[in-house]
């Protein structure tokens, strides 16, 4: 049925998952930083974090991807010209894709972590400080392990949306699942077959992720009494 394109499609699936996981890691990092800024006492940091989430939510993902992919080399080149160098840069689509998707979903992760930090019991942090833990140690030992529990449902949701958003990166020629399907569709002149296979593989990722998330939530809540 796939006329020999099966291994390319599978490689594309691997690339999609890899891009998704890298972008998720970046999004979590930015989300932690963003929520820390949003909850900080500094007005400048709060304003900066609000600007970040406002802009990212207001502009389509595709447009942001185009700005990062075509804008970054232009910026570097004009800066180099300003310094008197003449260089040409081709931006790697993998890095452009991961950073764009990571930055976009970092804004959503910011909101997820902000909610999770607010859901923590304040008394525990006070107790940690009272027994002599410093801010960093208290954050590492008391706050961070519990934040995951509150953030997990939100992050799971974010992952399910993020993995679908990675399909956009095919527009800048990264050979992920949709791009390979597109190439196969053009070569075999069977576009429906190959795009349908791609759709089914995205559904497969969603299904596997949902099962994994249920397990992860059960694990994160293992110490919590229910009912």
């Amino acid at each position: 049925m796939l006329q020999g394109w099966g291994d390319e499609i599978l490689r594309g699936l691997g690339m999609t998952v890899l891009v998704g996981l890298c972008a998720l890691a970046l999004a979590i990092l930015l989300g932690l930083l963003g929520s820390w800024a949003k909850l900080s006492r500094s007005t400048a940091l709060r304003a900066l974090a609000t600007l970040y989430t406002t802009v990212v939510r207001g502009v389509p993902e595709l447009l942001l991807l185009l700005i990062v992919y075509y804008g970054t080399p232009t910026a570097i080149q004009s800066f180099a010209t300003y310094l008197g160098h003449d260089i040409r840069i081709d931006f790697n689509p993998f890095i452009a894709g991961v950073s764009t998707i990571g930055v976009i979903y970092g804004a959503f992760a910011t909101e997820v972590f902000r909610g999770a930090f607010l859901a923590l019991d304040k008394g525990q942090q006070e107790a940690a400080r009272a027994v002599g833990m410093g801010r960093v140690l208290a954050f590492r030992r008391i706050v961070l392990p519990q934040v995951w529990r509150f953030a997990l449902p939100g992050l799971g949701n974010l992952w399910l949306v993020l993995i679908k958003a990675t399909a956009l990166i095919s527009v800048i020629q990264l050979t992920e699942l949709l791009r390979w399907s597109d190439i196969a569709a053009r070569n075999t002149r069977e576009p429906f077959t190959f795009f349908f296979v791609a759709a089914c593989l995205y559904l497969l990722i969603t299904l596997v992720s949902q099962v994994a998330l249920q397990r992860a939530e059960a694990w994160a809540n293992r110490g919590i009494r229910r009912g």
Binding site: P60, L62, V161
Partner: protein
């Protein structure tokens, strides 16, 4: 003194300006044309998609497996796959069935990128809206439905007077998110050659290479409309659900720490 509209002259006098204002001023009329197409696609798909989802949610809530299972499958497929794949599946995928489509006279439609864009966006938003409405209808307190039945209401009257007015109020916050996501998702139609706001911006950039000026102007236009949409929904929500809003002191007490998170798939 310079006139406010003479931005070009102003820009010429600023040789070191980081962005070229003249480019923005020149491209603005074309971009606004693109924005009109973007809004047209959004509103058309939302209107048809919403009407379709009203019917679909009734089927979804039916107890007959022959009725709810196809709708479940439809919603599962359209929520679980990327919109770009759906657009390719319909626009390019229909080419595989060209002969069959020509025979039944539909090929002229599927050859048209505009039709395929509206069809895909409509199906996509119908799936998400069905799921939003399903949650909202199930959230209507059972006691109110029983009370209405006890008063002798049934079927369509019960839905029209009791269930739907309440469900629409519950659905409003999630639906406002869906409207914003669909509005932004229309940017994908530029990939199948339509000249929406993103399409116009991409064409202009490929001609002028003024990446920043053009993409950032387009981004600002999207930003303004997005927050305009959210503003409209906030007003509607205050009108419709004012009586359900907690008093400020109560709201503070039982504030949900996760409230206000815009999750595309909730």
């Amino acid at each position: 003194m310079e006139s406010l509209f003479d931005l070009r002259a102003l820009a010429d006098r600023l040789p070191q300006a980081p962005v070229d204002l003249a480019v923005i001023v020149e491209s603005l009329p074309q971009m606004l044309d693109g924005l009109v197409l973007t809004l047209e696609l959004t509103l058309l798909s939302l209107a048809i998609g919403f009407a379709a989802s009203l019917g679909l949610v009734m089927l979804r809530l039916s107890h007959n497996a022959l009725l709810w299972m196809p709708v479940y499958g439809f919603v599962f497929f359209f929520r679980g796959t990327p919109l770009l794949v759906q657009i390719f599946l319909i626009y390019y995928g229909s080419g595989q069935f060209r002969l069959e489509l020509t025979e039944i006279g539909l090929w002229a439609w599927f050859r048209d990128a505009y039709f395929c864009a509206v069809l895909t966006l409509t199906l996509n938003t119908a799936a998400y809206t069905t799921e939003i409405l399903r949650g909202a209808i199930r959230a209507v307190p059972h006691g109110e439905v029983e009370a209405a039945r006890a008063c002798g209401m049934s079927g369509s009257l019960l839905y029209r007077r009791i269930i739907l007015p309440k469900a629409f109020r519950f659905a409003l916050p999630a639906y406002s998110n869906e409207v914003v996501f669909l509005f932004q998702a229309t940017s994908l139609v530029s990939i199948i050659t339509l000249m929406d706001l993103t399409g116009v911006a991409r064409t202009l950039v490929s001609k002028t290479f003024d990446v920043y000026e053009i993409y950032i102007t387009a981004g600002l236009l999207y930003l303004v409309v997005t927050y305009g949409i959210l503003g409209i929904f906030r007003t509607v929500e205050r009108r419709w659900s004012g009586h359900l809003r907690a008093r400020p002191d109560e709201a503070r007490k039982r504030r949900d720490p996760l409230a206000g998170i815009a999750t595309p798939m909730s």
